[in-house]
Symmetry: C2
Subunit: 154 residues, 2 copies
Amino acid sequence: MTCERPEVTERITAHGLRATPARCRIVALLLDTHEHYTPEEMLEELRRRGEPMSIATLYQNLAKLSEAGVIGRFVGPDGVSRYDAVTDPHHHLVCEVCGRMVDVRAAGPLEAIQPEPVFEEDAPELARWRIKAKKVEFTGVCPACQARLERASA
Amino acid sequence: MTCERPEVTERITAHGLRATPARCRIVALLLDTHEHYTPEEMLEELRRRGEPMSIATLYQNLAKLSEAGVIGRFVGPDGVSRYDAVTDPHHHLVCEVCGRMVDVRAAGPLEAIQPEPVFEEDAPELARWRIKAKKVEFTGVCPACQARLERASA
DNA sequence: TTACGTGCAAACGTTTTGCACAAAC
DNA sequence: GTTTGTGCAAAACGTTTGCACGTAA
């Protein structure tokens, strides 16, 4: 079985997984929307697309796809899992008002991990770790919520 | 009701909350250990200290204390909530082998948020946000696990 | 024919809630 | 006496698993 779209098929098989119908729909959805979906949201979006899927199948395939590196998995500040198709190194902007999450692509390659200025006493401990990845999460207020708040207080 | 220890009482009341027995025990535990406990771990530690607590009380007070800013709440990469008493700006080192989490204090004040190098096209979007906090999570292998892995492969 | 993917339902662990009682303001 | 905190039990929630069936290698 292959997806209707070659780039989706290739993306899955390139990581050693079979391009099954469920996986194709999941990856296509993430590629099309560039969203950070929770499993529940994906279920609803897939239903809306006329591609309904069992919740068990969704979870099973999200696990496989993220373990294989086809899609990215992370846990939002609210504690629920989210998935995206962005494999480029990027940071997250999280709106503390509406919860929206937006990507900001990092300028450098993932391997060139930017050092953080740390306390002198903690530097030796940091040096003893083998650091593989750095994830930055900015929290603040998104443009839309800033406007809404200003309007409300006016 | 006040805690036995004045600094614990003060820390709670300073944020507008009553210093009840349950809250005193929670805050004292976090101050004493500097750990990043999950609710389950805290429950066990409190039991060990001879200060058992109902799980409902624990969750209710963790929510109140973290909302009030007395303690910090965050969600680990595994998706479970963790709490600490460290209010200084700091980053997290997460061991991908054993899951241990260690603090590395930031060198600068929380307000002086270090900029991250981002893609030129994304810079305008970032500029429109009102950024309030930056959280960095380093993922890698802790010293202990490095040693264990080397021993295993030798 | 053997392994893998899918879907239903049940199980699981974590977190929240309804309620009764006790304590503090 | 009204508000607030505590604890038990039950519920809700997100996630995982067991099993039967269908599909692909």
